[in-house]
């Protein structure tokens, strides 16, 4: 949380020559970060970030106390001035004059509860300086009765509340958990139905008169008729405060402080300061007993540690005297044993400082992190192999980029709507229990739906979207975390052979050879990418060692239509985990051939729907002098193949080539019903 502290108010407790800029710089380096200084009229306002462990700094006095420990380290004098507020004894009134008030907390929900009934003058605006200070701190000034509670909170760091004593006719305060759906109207006239984990105050009749520690209620708040008040401060359970405050979105400053667990010792300090202010500014007279119910006393832990331990954490050697003086400047109590120190933090640091490492932190920050040297580790470098997948992923990304593909990053989430458009089932997905919107309700099991969506949204900016994404999909498993499988998806709108060519060369580049092509024919052939995404006659899968590496194909026209994609779209989906398993980047060396190759073109004609892939594989098998078979031209049912013949051991004679060629022709004619063009 950020708080606003005015310089003039701060200096009421902090005696120093430090300029606002110096205060900002020094505090930021060693304590709470001062993010900004704003000059307003003749004053400065510090905007200070308070971390959740430092509720003790969330006030004018808290900052002054930190500054007194920090500024002298920079050679700037600083001293803390006496805290204001009367003494308990001076407020006691004769028991016979007590106005009755009974507070009970049977379940011991609060750590401490204090309160006092006071008679006051009619409500009026606060004096200018009060108004000015609380408004500069970001709180609206209302009237003197309410402003005092806020002034005390800003000055000392503990929230407080004021009730109209006469509006609580029973003069009873019962602190209890709310009933389910119990209604409440807060003082800003908003209505809520409560939950059984919320804490409320009941006037003994079942009527809810406060949401303690968070916000008051309409039915008990002071108004222009108020003549008697009940000034009330309670130390709450921080977890319950946080939950209730977040549940209803009531993020008052009181709630944000109370959820950080301010010290319950501070309750009394704040009460006395408040009484003093009611006397000064509202004609207040104490009219009842000072109630103090204190079931859970503040009790800081005593920590045992050594000078050596602290210095080991800092990486430098500080003298014992210096360490002790730093800790004492923070109000820590130190008792020196032989070689160790027993250190007790003040009550206001009891939740934050509990182990020796916390002591090291206090010493290090006040000594100044900026005063520590910077070194690189000198120890041994662990020998661990970089996961192979990282190299392959990076290679794939680079290759695809230089081949003209643009990388996209889609959310790992997917909407039910997109799942439906892709004809998948929501039940096959992991569901987010608390999605912000329905757009991010499920975890992807395929990259295809988001890829289609991305294509659809960009199709008007390019005729050929060559996109790719490499990301994990999350495949649910019973009673376990899902399988996270890295998948590569790429798109192309040119034609099937373009995208197939990219995939073939990509496999070659990552060191995968000997891949078989398979025409998927049933659902099982589509493990993981679902047959219905694909055009049934224009999809191929690449397989090696019984593992499906990739699918390449045209998107099913019906799916394309669901996404309103206007042009034909080809996708390839690769399982990167399998690529990594199969990849063998080692290159082998074959001597450069001594004898020239014979290259000739062969044009073949074949019946419609003949697969040329197996035919080419067949040619390779015929003789080992067939070194390369390339497709150089293709038209309807006719293809020109360029065949390279070469023998490592001798010059090929024309009859050597002829023999092999005849065998090719013979095989192709008998097996594939091929005719030849000469």
């Amino acid at each position: 949380m950020n708080i606003l502290v005015t310089d003039s108010w701060l200096r009421e407790y902090l005696e120093t020559d430090a300029t606002p800029q110096q205060l900002k710089d020094c505090l930021s380096l060693c304590g709470p970060s001062v993010e900004r200084i704003n000059k307003v009229n003749n004053d400065y306002i510090y905007e200070i970030e308070i971390t959740s462990n430092r509720a003790d700094c969330a006030s004018v006095y808290g900052i002054a106390r930190e500054a007194v420990a920090i500024l002298p380290r920079f050679g700037i004098k600083a001293a803390l001035k006496q805290l204001k507020g009367g003494r308990m004894e001076s407020f006691r009134v004769k028991e016979s004059n007590h106005l009755p008030m009974e507070v009970s907390d049977p379940e011991i929900i609060c750590n401490r509860i204090m309160g006092v009934v006071m008679e006051v003058d009619f409500m009026k605006p606060s004096p200018a300086y009060i108004k000015d200070r609380i408004e500069k701190s970001g709180i609206r000034s209302l009237n003197n009765l309410v402003d005092i509670t806020n002034y005390v909170m800003l000055e000392l760091g503990h929230p407080s509340h004021v009730f109209d004593y006469d509006r609580i006719k029973t003069h009873k305060f019962l602190i209890r958990f709310a009933k389910k759906n119990e209604p409440i109207e807060t003082l800003d006239n908003k209505k809520y139905l409560l939950n059984s984990e919320d804490v409320i105050i009941d006037d003994g009749t079942g009527r809810v008169i406060d949401l303690p520690g968070i916000m008051g209620t309409e039915n008990s708040v002071v108004n222009k008729n108020t003549r008697r008040i009940f000034f009330f401060i309670e130390s709450n359970n921080p977890v319950l405060i946080r939950k209730t405050s977040m549940r209803y979105g009531i993020r008052t400053m009181a709630a944000t402080i109370n959820e950080k667990h301010p010290d319950s010792e501070l309750v009394k300090t704040a009460l006395l300061r408040g009484i003093e202010l009611y006397q000064e500014l509202a004609g207040g007279k104490v009219a009842g007993e000072l109630i103090d119910i204190y079931p859970r006393k503040s009790k800081p832990t005593t920590i045992k540690t050594t000078i050596e331990f602290i210095n080991d954490r800092l990486g430098i050697v500080l003298k014992k005297s210096e360490i002790v003086s730093i800790l004492e400047s923070l109000s820590f109590h130190i008792s020196e044993q032989n070689t160790s120190l027993e250190i007790t933090p003040p009550t206001f640091r009891q939740f934050d400082v509990t182990i020796p490492e916390d002591i090291a932190e206090e010493v290090a920050r006040i000594y100044g992190y900026h005063n520590l040297p910077s070194k690189l580790m000198s120890g041994e470098i662990p020998v661990t192999n970089r996961p192979k997948i990282l190299d392959i992923e990076e290679k794939i990304k680079q290759i695809l980029k230089y081949w003209g593909h643009t990388e996209v990053y889609n959310y790992s989430f997917i909407s039910g709507e997109l799942i439906a458009k892709a004809n998948l089932k929501t039940s096959a997905h992991l569901k987010v229990a608390n999605p912000l919107t329905s757009d991010i309700e499920y975890m992807r099991i395929s990259l295809i739906p988001s890829m289609l969506d991305t294509v659809a949204r960009n199709q008007f900016y390019s005729d050929n979207l060559q996109l790719f994404e490499l990301a994990n999909v999350y495949l649910p498993k019973k009673n376990d975390l899902p399988d996270e499988v890295p998948i590569l998806a790429l798109s192309n709108q040119n034609n099937f052979y373009k995208i197939k060519g990219f995939v073939e060369l990509l496999l070659k580049e990552v060191g995968i050879a000997g891949v078989k092509e398979n025409i998927p024919s049933n659902q099982n052939d589509f493990a993981g990418t679902w047959s219905h995404f694909w055009h049934p006659k224009q999809t191929v899968s690449l397989v090696k060692s019984g593992k499906i590496i990739a699918y390449i194909g045209k998107i099913h026209p019906a799916i394309s239509q669901n996404f309103q994609i206007k042009n034909a779209l080809y996708l390839a989906v690769l399982n990167v985990e399998i690529l990594v398993d199969l990849s063998n980047p080692a290159k082998s060396y074959i001597p450069i051939p001594l004898y020239p190759a014979v290259i000739e073109d062969l044009t073949i004609q074949y019946p419609p729907k003949t697969y040329i892939g197996p035919l080419i594989s067949e040619i390779y098998k015929i003789n080992k002098i067939v070194k390369k078979v390339e497709m150089v031209d293709h038209y309807h049912n006719s293809t020109t193949l360029r065949i390279t013949y070469q023998d490592e051991k001798k010059n090929l004679k024309s009859e050597d080539v002829k023999n092999v060629r005849d065998k090719i022709l013979q095989t192709l004619t008998s097996k594939y019903k091929i005719t030849f063009k000469q």
């Binding site: 080991d312 800092l314 520590l372 910077s374 690189l376 996961p387 996209v408 060559q466």
Partner: protein
């Protein structure tokens, strides 16, 4: 024979004079003097003529060959010179290959990884959908810690595991800390974990999915000066030599002490501008590994110490480039008009 030779010479010279390209001239040369060339073939006939005429014809053949070779060579030069007058508009644009674009997240990950690998870190990857145990409990974050609220962490709709708790979308790469300790078995550890993270925030400056780096070093004698040294090295390598860093006290459950690391703003050089907070930019959160975290990873905190840091990939990129992307959601909306700018 003599006549044939003279005819060949004349015809060849006529043909040669017409040739305009180096390629054609070379072809003519082969046609004459190649293995099956006309001149070569003619010369083979020398055997057939009477012995007495051979010297004369031989001399003639040599003379003709020499002459043809000279003329061919001259023609080649002429052809080459003629090309000099071929005009080309060298100012017209080239035809480039199609170039794609890597997402800025990928670009940053590569660069940061390279820098840390040079000082002995190894990149690792841990689950993005994770148990509460690794995301919170093992990181010293008690059950009631605010970060474990529905408002701060995404939960998966699955029954909890007795030991491991609920299934969450990992809200930070710190979930990999104890996993790395378990993997390594014992220190030394120098890890950098880069992964997707998820938190329920979605507005102009937050996306529900983002990327983080996590660094983790554990060894004997690791202290704050090493953490400072590492950041100084990284800041100078990644952002530039003139940049400075500072540590500010902060609070995280899984480190003690904890810091926020700031770096001087590269645009205003520390004077203060719209991109920074009065000259400084927040780089990341970090600290010395909390003893409870070491214990959760079965490492003895009395023998070993360590430091950890984590920060956002997207932010780091923008800080380096000085980009002020007014709406962070653009990063994951995949509009190619945005993506093609990087």
């Amino acid at each position: 024979m003599e006549k044939e030779l003279n005819e060949l010479e004349n015809m060849s010279l006529v043909e040669l004079a017409k040739l305009k390209s180096d390629k054609d001239v070379n072809a003519l040369y082969l046609k004459l003097f190649g293995q099956n060339g006309n001149f070569t073939k003619l010369l083979k006939k020398l055997k057939e003529i009477p012995q007495s005429e051979r010297p004369i014809i031989g001399i003639l053949a040599n003379k003709i060959k020499k002459n043809l070779e000279e003329k061919i060579s001259k023609q080649k030069k002429l052809v080459a010179n003629n090309q000099l007058s071929d005009w080309l508009d060298v100012t017209a644009p080239g035809t480039p290959p199609k170039l794609g674009h890597l997402h800025i997240v990928s670009q940053t990950i590569s660069e940061v990884t390279r820098i840390f690998e040079r000082i002995g870190f190894t990149r690792r990857r841990y689950p993005e959908i994770e148990w509460e145990w690794y995301s919170f409990d093992s990181l010293n974050m008690p059950v009631n810690h605010p970060a474990r609220d529905d408002f701060e962490t995404f939960f998966i709709d699955l029954p909890p595991n007795l030991k491991m708790g609920k299934v969450v979308l990992s809200p930070h790469t710190s979930s990999g800390q104890v996993r790395e300790m378990e993997r390594a078995g014992k220190p030394p550890i120098r890890m950098i974990n880069i992964a997707k993270c998820y938190r329920p925030n979605w507005d102009i400056s937050h996306t529900p999915m983002f990327h983080q780096f996590e660094g983790l070093v554990i060894d004997k004698g690791i202290n704050i000066t090493h953490l400072k040294g590492t950041f100084e090295y990284f800041a100078k390598e990644f952002f530039g030599k003139d940049r400075k860093i500072r540590l500010r006290p902060f609070h995280f459950q899984f480190t003690e002490p904890s810091f926020e690391v700031d770096i001087t703003c590269g645009f205003c050089k520390g004077r203060g501008c719209r991109l920074c907070k009065e000259g400084w930019m927040e780089l990341c959160g970090s600290g010395m590994v909390h003893p409870n975290v070491l214990k959760a990873g079965k490492i003895d905190p009395m023998k070993y110490t360590g430091y950890a840091f984590g920060w956002g990939v997207e932010r780091t990129y923008m800080m380096k480039q000085g980009l002020k992307i007014d709406d962070l959601r653009l990063l994951y909306s995949n509009d190619i008009r945005f993506l093609e700018q990087f």
